[in-house]
């Protein structure tokens, strides 16, 4: 890690000297976020859905089952189920609504990659949420993966990065979009028409074109002059937001007529409509209240099935919309729960947890990493992901984020380099997504 920090300094200094501006902390090239007026191409994928179980899920009730009585009270060792290479907790008999683990694994187990034994190293919500979302524990400046990939792959998309809650920092790379209600999409779809009615434009076409030309002309002349960095960024982001928003007209056909009742399904519909319209790269979805300090089993048995139901809904609807083969799904939480119950039948914060992944480029039916009988993380050899108690390393969020950057093909993007994760080559996880990959072709 230490050698990397030195090399990063040299890299950034070189960029600065070469005029690349990578080290200047405002948007490296905010003009890149502005598409030409006549060219607002639809983004075709891949798309990223990040599901957050906000508050800290109980991994022993999902993907990392433990049969001992002290750890959970819902099932015994012999009740633990398997699906392919997955083992999981039985929940069909305990869930309150939603989707059982049994049904979820039966349908998606073949595609699913699970990582157990993720070491968050701390156990408070705020730093853990930030760490899990960005891969960086000790900085408030880093973007979430969803924001980073949106900035790298779809800077001109008007809703490039959608968020519905949880930690959503953008690193000043891309604007954060909050679209809380499905009908909101209709409101913003045709901004130049009265009440969105295309047959009733505010301005005649020639007048609107003159307005747009004048705005562009003024923007170009102002941005060419010396400006305070904040002003320059604001000028560019404002112009990009207004210009690129024209592409929102493409959303209308994709907005479903019926609004689903479930809270995650509502978020999913907004995200998928935006994906289908080619105006969005990533969405940060969230349901909260997992922080089950009291009545752990009761709360988790409402929330885990609700989460799985939402994920399944997303995958089914993506199928309907022909987006499934471009959809990467990340399932995470900011922490796990203790391997014992407190006096209120709850479980407190635990700094060891799990994450799950599914989508193109991800070889499924795999479980990587592990926890022991007391729910401590195994150390792993990064290259092979084999257990190695003595010379392995703890796998932490930065390792997963580096792998995610590689999966998305953005590990060497200037935006990613501006926010390094401090992972040396020897700590990368070349076989994480594909067991047949090697360090040489893990490819950034």
């Amino acid at each position: 890690m230490s050698s990397l920090t030195g090399s990063r300094r040299r890299f950034l200094a070189t960029c600065g000297a070469a005029g690349l501006g990578l080290a200047v902390p405002v948007m490296a090239d905010p003009e890149a976020a502005r598409a030409s007026e006549d060219d607002l191409p639809a983004y075709g994928g891949p798309f990223y859905l990040v599901f957050n179980a906000a508050g800290g899920w109980d991994t022993t009730l999902l993907m990392d089952p433990k049969g001992s009585e002290g750890i959970n009270r819902l099932y015994r060792e012999g009740d633990i189920l398997t699906q392919g290479n997955h083992t999981f907790a039985p929940t069909a008999a305990h869930k309150e609504g939603g989707l059982s683990n049994e049904d979820f694994y039966a349908e998606f187990g073949k595609e699913l990659l699970t990582f157990n034994g993720l070491d968050y190293s701390v156990n408070n919500h705020s730093p853990c949420s930030r760490y899990m979302a960005t891969g960086k524990l000790d900085s408030l400046a880093y973007p979430t993966f969803a924001a980073l990939v949106a900035a790298c792959q779809g800077p001109s998309c008007p809703l490039s990065f959608l968020t519905f809650g949880n930690y959503s920092a953008t690193g000043n790379l891309v604007a954060m979009s909050r679209v809380p209600y499905l009908p909101s999409l209709q409101r913003i779809a045709n901004a130049d028409a009265i009440e969105g009615n295309l047959r009733a434009p505010y301005h005649d076409d020639f007048a609107l074109e003159a307005i747009e030309r004048a705005i562009q002309h003024r923007h170009d002349s102002r941005i060419a002059g010396p400006l305070l960095p904040r002003s320059a960024q604001a000028e560019s982001m404002l112009y990009a937001a207004q210009t690129n928003s024209k592409a929102l007209s493409r959303i209308t056909p994709h907005v479903p007529k019926e609004i689903p009742k479930q809270r995650l399904a509502q978020q999913v519909e907004i995200a998928l409509a935006s994906f289908a319209a080619g105006v969005c790269v990533s969405a940060n979805l969230s349901i909260g209240q997992f922080d089950s300090h009291a009545n752990n089993d009761r709360d988790q048995m409402k929330l885990i099935p609700e989460l799985l139901e939402g994920i399944a809904y997303a995958l089914h609807r993506a199928e309907d919309l022909h987006l499934r083969d471009q959809l990467v799904v990340i399932m995470q939480s900011e922490m796990g729960r203790t391997p014992h119950y407190n006096k209120g039948d709850g479980k407190d914060h635990w700094s060891i947890g799990s994450a799950m992944f599914l989508g193109p480029g991800i070889h499924g039916n795999r479980v990587l990493g592990a926890t022991d009988g007391e729910q401590f993380a195994h150390r792993l050899i990064p290259a092979t992901l084999a257990n190695a108690p003595d010379d392995g390393i703890r796998i932490r969020p930065e390792h997963l984020h580096q792998a995610l950057r590689q999966l998305a093909g953005i590990a060497d993007h200037p935006f990613s380099l501006r926010f390094p994760l401090g992972i040396s080559a020897g700590e990368e996880l070349p076989t994480f997504w594909n067991p047949t990959s090697s360090a040489e072709n893990s490819g950034s």
Binding site: A23, P158, L159, A191, H203, M237, A240, S351
Partner: protein, 774 residues
């Protein structure tokens, strides 16, 4: 202030708090304490302390810290001011110097310890070839090589603001009146500034801060910080508990509305009554701030004030309305507020009665309000730690959880210790500070939403937590019943309180908090960012000192920030190097207006609000709900860009023809031109058009552009091109679009398309950053 009687003695004491408003103009001041540090001391403060030790060493190497028994025990300059701060820096320098002089066989002891050598208790804090380690190495070198230290001279750096263009005094006035009162400056104010320049501004602001609109903005801005509007559920049930307000909190359900004959109307009136009651309850904490500032009482009262604010409606909920009825100017106004001391709580059973040595509820400003306690609730296992964390953030500017931003092994610590929060070093770091304050909230222990907020834990407070107190001072036993008042007193005396309030004032004005210290020393521009951060810290300290000197007048804080370079910085006089740009990265207000601010600005300019930036559209435009969404958008997304376009189209549509339909003397936009004036016909008509454009630039954008300026000519070109293109169309309607000619005061024909061309101009201006940003 109204003191509600603890017993049924019918006496009300009304105290009118009168205090003079300090209106001293700000004067340039050196950064407090900086002038008394020597060059080497200042270098230590700016380098080793600011860049490394403050974050990396102090956490453990302080009294009460894990490393308090070592040779390196540091003091925190941030909890002191003036001479004490200088003394703290000198103490720290001496402590580090003593270690720097020690060299072992492997190398300098200080550097080895910091990089994890010599069995350093904290392990490897710095990577050996990190920039932070270089800072330590440079310090050691300076300490061990007197020639290196003495041979260096103070480098003279240009001011942070060298080459930065400041707002004109008139533009500053406009920014301030729009920001504070949602209106444009009056002619008299503009004249006063033309005559008195910057010196005239503070007195004008004193008057602006008497306006009702200022208090609306004040409450809105502070809710962005405290988020007390975000209390869950119906506040008549969550704020007013069953145990203590069972008989009174539901008064609205029994309120006599029989005088309304129509059943539907009566039902609607009932809904309105309930909604206004709930709104009145939710607004009480912000009304407390309002009242303190309105009467220019010391702002420390937000944490020491021994009263709450109640309205006629919320007073009924507390069961104190009858005693107050005569004190209200209008007892039927749900939103008239008075300061009141509540009697100590009386429960449904004696065990639920509140202990009180005075018979009154021990109010401690915001901190003890039921709204604050409901907004930041506890759970059985959280043990009031959330409340303690929010207290530190809101009142002392300390994000406790940032202390935990260093990788550790929390799971192992949890398993290895019986009481990790008191025994495991990585846990103790936070909990030693957090838990004593959590203990001060111990009498507000109930956490079931259906039951009261006040209530003591039956088994007594937890003994597996650090005991109640504040920063090493234990809570005296006789203060237990008024623990939050005791905390408020400690807080008001803490220098961090004034600095935090200075930060809150900056947030109100700019939409962002004072910048944080850069934590990436590997950044090639780290030094530039440090200079910027230090300059801002200096400004915060200066303004905080003046705040204290002005008896904690919050208005003084606002005035000082408004005339500061940080608020007035507006541009560059020339292109600058990348390093200087990094230094100026956080400089300039450049604030995207919130939905509420944008509506107020539209009203100020056009005479009425757009009216559509509310509810769902407000959320879409980056607004907050104070619950789930608590931070305002700072950059426009595409969705917000679409709303901006709709707003520009619609506001122009509703106002341009309407303005022309009025007599010229009543017009806001076009007082000196008619739609009959065409471009390119005669020099006089073009001059008239340019004159009008300059007027629009001033009114909408706040720009003082000359009629011959490129900016005005550019807008003229837009106007002329639309008129010209319209003339080239085969068929053009001779009047405005139907939607845009509604509500006109007189017909406005548009045979030459000039009205619509002016509408295009206004649309264009409404989409500019000068309008959409502050």
């Amino acid at each position: 202030m109204l003191f509600m009687q603890p017993a049924a003695i019918p006496m009300i004491v009304l105290i009118i708090v009168l205090s003079g408003l300090t209106s001293a103009a700000a004067e340039p001041a050196a950064c407090p304490g900086s002038t008394t540090l020597s060059l080497s001391e200042q270098r230590f403060a700016d380098e080793l302390w600011a860049k490394v030790a403050r974050q990396q060493c102090f956490v453990c190497h302080q009294p009460g810290g894990d490393a308090e028994d070592t040779r390196l025990v540091l003091r925190d300059p941030r909890v002191t001011t003036g001479d004490a701060r200088v003394a703290a820096h000198r103490h720290n320098l001496a402590a580090f110097s003593a270690l720097a002089s020690i060299t072992t066989e492997e190398g300098p002891l200080l550097l080895l310890k910091a990089t994890g050598g010599l069995e350093h208790g904290g392990g490897e804090v710095l990577s050996p070839d990190s920039a932070a380690a270089e800072v330590v190495a440079a310090f050691v070198e300076r300490q061990t090589d007197p020639l290196a230290e003495s041979g260096e001279e103070a480098s003279v750096r240009p001011s942070l603001f060298a080459g930065v263009a400041m707002l004109s005094d008139q533009a500053l006035l406009r920014r301030a009146t729009l920001s504070l009162a949602g209106r444009l400056p009056t002619a008299a104010e503009r004249s006063a500034v033309a005559e008195g320049h910057l010196d005239a501004i503070p007195a004008l602001l004193d008057a602006v801060m008497q306006e009702e609109a200022f208090y609306t903005r004040l409450r809105e801005g502070f809710n962005d910080i405290f988020l007390t509007q975000g209390v869950d559920g119906n506040p008549d049930q969550t704020v007013l508990s069953y145990e203590h307000f069972e008989k009174t909190r539901g008064w609205y359900q029994r309120h006599d509305l029989s005088h309304i004959a129509d059943e539907k109307e009566r039902r609607q009136a009932g809904y309105k009554l309930a909604n206004e009651y709930r709104a009145a309850l939710l607004d009480e904490p912000m009304r407390l701030i309002d009242d303190i500032v309105r009467h220019d009482r010391p702002f420390t009262e937000i944490i020491t004030g021994d009263y709450i604010m109640v309205s006629p409606y919320s007073a009924r909920g507390y069961g104190v309305f009858k005693d107050l009825e005569d004190a209200f100017a209008d007892p039927s106004d749900p939103f008239e507020y008075l300061p009141v001391r509540l009697p100590a709580l009386t429960g449904r059973s004696p065990k639920e009665n509140q202990e009180s040595a005075t018979g009154f509820y021990p109010h401690a400003g915001l901190l003890s309000t039921f709204q604050y306690l409901s907004r930041y609730p506890t759970t059985e296992t959280n043990r009031n730690r959330l409340r303690a964390r929010m207290y530190y953030l809101h009142f002392l500017g300390v994000d406790i959880l940032e202390l935990a931003s260093r990788g550790s092994d929390a799971a192992a610590a949890t398993a290895a210790y019986e009481i990790p929060t008191m025994q495991a070093a990585e846990c103790v770091v936070c909990h030693k500070t957090l838990d004593p304050v959590a203990g001060l909230f111990q009498d507000y222990w109930r956490f079931d939403a259906n039951f009261s907020i006040y209530g003591r834990r039956h088994e007594g407070w937890f003994d597996d937590m650090f005991p109640a107190g504040f920063e090493g001072t234990p809570l005296p036993e006789d203060q237990r019943w008024r623990a939050l008042q005791w905390l408020g007193e400690q807080t008001a005396a803490d220098p961090r309180f004034a600095r935090t309030m200075a930060g809150h004032a900056y947030y109100l004005l700019t939409g962002r908090h004072p910048m944080l210290p850069p934590n990436d020393l590997d950044d090639p521009f780290a030094d530039a960012r440090y200079r910027s951060w230090q300059a801002m810290q200096c400004e915060v300290d200066t303004i905080a000192d003046r705040f204290r000197a002005a008896d904690f007048s919050f208005k003084q804080l606002l005035k000082d920030w408004i005339i500061s370079d940080f608020y007035r910085a507006d541009g560059l006089t020339a292109a600058m190097s990348a390093e200087r740009l990094a230094e100026l990265e956080e400089i300039g207000v450049v604030r995207l207006l919130s939905p509420e601010q944008l509506e107020r600005k539209i009203e100020a300019i056009f005479g009425k609000r757009w009216g559509r930036l509310s509810e769902q559209t407000a959320m879409l435009y980056g607004g907050i709900d104070s619950k789930e969404v608590t931070e305002r958008a700072t950059s426009p997304s595409g969705a917000m860009g679409a709303i901006q376009r709709t707003m520009a189209n619609d506001v122009a549509c509703k106002n341009v023809a309407l303005d022309f339909s009025r007599p010229p003397t009543e017009r806001l936009l076009f007082p000196a031109i008619e739609p009959t004036v065409l471009p390119g016909v005669a020099p006089q008509s073009d001059e008239q058009i340019c004159h009008t454009i300059a007027h629009l630039h001033q009114r909408i954008l706040g720009r003082d552009d000359a009629e011959s300026s490129a900016e005005v000519q550019q807008t003229f070109a837009l106007f002329a091109s639309v008129v010209r293109d319209a003339a080239a169309q085969e068929h053009i309607e001779k009047e405005e679009a139907w939607h845009c000619r509604q509500g006109l005061e007189a017909p406005v024909p548009d045979p030459h398309y000039t009205v619509r061309a002016w509408r295009a101009v206004v649309t264009y201006l409404l989409r500019q950053p000068e309008f959409l940003y502050e």
